[in-house]
């Protein structure tokens, strides 16, 4: 996948993000590989997981592969009929309507685990997959407010189908049903990140607490004032 991307070769993908380890769950990046010594044998592999090597012949678009992707998208379309990303992708492959029965109260989640993986990278693992089989969903432990969640919205932003609901309302952020207080700029009142997230960053990366009390606009103004004072002083000295 990284080699294909570097060379500017387009392969459809939903579950891939540079910040997380690939896990090959969406199956859309399936490509056909073969090698000189394989005696004409071919394999279908997910390009995100298969390591590139010298002499590997990779086919990214063939009638067979397009059919495979069409089938996958057909299933996704049945599972997530409301998802615009899936609809758009399916249209590219000539699919406008699923041939399967759609899930009436589907939540658009494609079970790619991008959200749980990013939360793991963050060092929190506040959410995970619960239940088995067709009942499997991504949720906080016991369906309650996740104790480890810090309201950073990484999971919501990384989600390819934008399933994870959150809202910022009057200085209060709600995600996974857990309310968070947003830090207000001590001068202009602009809302920045959640208090829990700031505390986590301060503790983990050893950052001074006062970096987080003022918003970016006020901090830029401060910098201009400080630099301006230096300029004026330099001028006085010169005179």
């Amino acid at each position: 996948m990284s080699v294909l991307r570097r060379e500017g070769i387009d392969v459809p993908v939903l579950c891939h993000h540079e910040a997380i380890e690939p896990c090959g769950s969406c199956r859309l990046c399936t490509v056909e590989i073969t090698k000189d010594g394989w005696g004409g044998w071919k394999r279908h592999v997910t390009s995100c997981l298969y390591p590139a090597e010298e002499g590997l012949v990779v086919v990214t678009h063939s009638p067979e592969l397009i059919e495979i992707r069409r089938n996958i998208l057909d299933l996704y379309l049945a599972r997530c009929p409301q998802s615009e990303v899936i609809q758009k992708m399916a249209e590219e492959y000539g699919l406008y309507k699923t041939s399967y029965e759609t899930i009436p109260d589907g939540d658009n989640c494609i079970m790619c685990y991008a959200c749980t993986r990013i939360c793991e990278v963050l060092g929190k693992s506040a959410i995970s997959a619960v239940m088995r089989g067709h009942k499997k969903v991504i949720a906080p432990p016991f369906g309650e407010q996740p104790p480890d969640c810090i309201g950073c919205l990484s999971c919501a932003h990384i989600c390819p189908t934008d399933v994870i609901a959150w809202k910022d309302d009057d200085g209060c952020r709600t995600i996974w049903n857990k309310p968070f207080e947003l830090i207000s700029c001590s001068r202009c009142g602009k809302k920045t990140i959640t208090r829990e997230f700031a505390d986590y960053l301060i503790g983990k990366r050893n950052l001074p607490r006062d970096y987080f009390t003022v918003c970016d606009d006020c901090k830029r103004q401060d910098l201009a004032l400080k630099m301006g004072a230096l300029v004026d002083r330099a001028k006085e000295v010169a005179i």
């Binding site: 993000h17 540079e18 910040a19 990013i118 990278v121 963050l122 060092g123 950073c152 919205l153 990484s154 932003h157 990384i158 830090i183 920045t192 990140i193 997230f197 700031a198 960053l201 983990k204 990366r205 050893n206 950052l207 001074p208 970096y211 987080f212 003022v214 918003c215 970016d216 606009d217 006020c218 901090k219 830029r220 103004q221 401060d222 910098l223 201009a224 004032l225 630099m227 301006g228 004072a229 300029v231 004026d232 330099a234 001028k235």
Partner: protein
Amino acid sequence: MMTHRFEVIPSLCIGCRTCELACAFTHTKNQKPGRSRIYPIAYAPDKYVPVACLQCDDPACVKSCLFDALKRNETTGAVELNADRCVKCMACVAACPFGCALVDDGHDEIVKCDLCGGNPACAQFCPTKALVYKRIA
């Protein structure tokens, strides 16, 4: 190896905001100009300081990024944001003590000055040479 240095000389700035335009148009994507990474801010009537990322030695943005999306480019000396690794958690925006990591609402991404990869457009367009990209070695 750094060969150039970006210099800001506030006493020469007249607040014409040409740098803002140059920056926004340089970072045009999908026929839409990006958010400017540089702002001339008035600190007194008719006195301006062009505020852009200071490319700190020990950057708070790099420290705050939990996904290693921010990295220093050793050739230009600029701290660059790898948009592919960014998940828009806003940690850098909140952490930067100078408020120079910005949110580009139009393109829905985080942006910061990357010195245009080694040839800042703002310095080329600055009419009073308040912004210069100077050779140091």
